[in-house]
């Protein structure tokens, strides 16, 4: 159970947009996390360290935030076999479709890319249908 948090959602979204704008302004790069991740590790490493630096920032920030005493809610209730299947699908699918929530959903849509709009509508609809089927038809939790 989570509650609707409009103000923190808007402010968090503002920060994500600002981060993407920064990466574009300084490095000329799209802040798509699936693309950055897939290009960050050998044997596919393409162009250096900036990808690992971006990911390092992404990974250490929650720890920094929590070290100030603030609490972060993070619950994963999915079973390990389902997580493995989901991870494989997310990894393969984001490469085949060339982007994820950040690359297509934020960066692509902000450039008014029709291709990204098609991708975003497709993955949103598929994800919502998947949640509907798993939670309401096959009854894996409410």
């Amino acid at each position: 159970m989570t509650t609707f948090t409009p103000y923190s959602a808007l402010f968090g979204g503002f920060l994500i947009g600002l981060a993407a704008a920064m990466l574009l302004f300084f490095n000329g790069r799209i802040a798509g996390v699936s693309g950055i991740t897939s290009g960050a590790f050998p044997p596919w490493q393409r162009d250096g360290l900036w990808r690992l630096c971006f990911l390092a920032g992404l990974i250490i920030m929650p720890a920094i935030y929590q070290s100030t005493g603030a609490k972060i809610e993070l619950h994963i209730q999915t079973s390990i076999p389902v997580l493995i299947l989901a991870g494989l699908l997310v990894g393969y699918g984001t490469r085949l479709g060339n982007g994820c929530t950040s690359g297509h959903g934020v960066c692509g849509l902000s450039r008014l890319s029709v291709r990204s709009l098609a991708a975003t509508l497709t993955f949103m609809a598929t994800a919502a249908l998947t949640v509907y089927l798993t939670r309401h038809v096959f009854g894996m939790g409410a």
């Binding site: 968090g12 802040a31 992404l58 250490i60 993070l74 997310v90 085949l96 950040s102």
Partner: protein
């Protein structure tokens, strides 16, 4: 060097956005996707905030001939809506709906070292590797 510092700063800010918006929590994401259940619309406002901010700033950024630290902007050039795009988006959506984790929050969540999170990220990297080996090579 400056490029790497800028990327680190952007990553930190991106991570802060995921934390403050609550999107780092897969439960909150799943509840957005759960239209027939206890719906939590927060994710829509995260997207709206990000789109308004980036959309506005981008207008000024892309007026420059080059980025500050690079020789060109690396923007996607493809405009076609083809089968791989839609098929990839469907596979991604299926995985996203199963676990509530997409690449950004999955990477940021590694901060806490949860076994479930680490397993997901390893599987995700394996999925990317499968694509590279079995699909991209063709």
């Amino acid at each position: 060097m400056a490029k790497n510092i800028a990327a680190l700063a952007a990553g930190l800010l991106f991570g802060l956005g995921l934390v403050i918006s609550g999107m780092i929590n897969p439960q909150k994401v799943l509840n957005f996707l759960n239209f027939a259940g206890a719906w939590d619309g927060s994710l829509a406002l995260v997207m709206a905030g990000a789109l308004l901010t980036l959309g506005t700033l981008q207008r000024f950024i892309l007026r420059r001939p080059t980025p500050l630290l690079e020789t060109k902007f690396y923007l996607p050039t493809s405009k076609i809506i083809d089968a791989p795009l839609l098929m990839g988006a469907m596979l991604f959506g299926l995985g996203w709906g199963l676990a509530g984790l997409c690449p950004g929050p999955a990477m940021a969540g590694l901060s806490f070292g949860l076994t479930e999170n680490i397993v997901f990220v390893i599987a995700m990297l394996a999925g990317m590797w499968f694509f590279q080996v079995f699909h991209d090579k063709k």
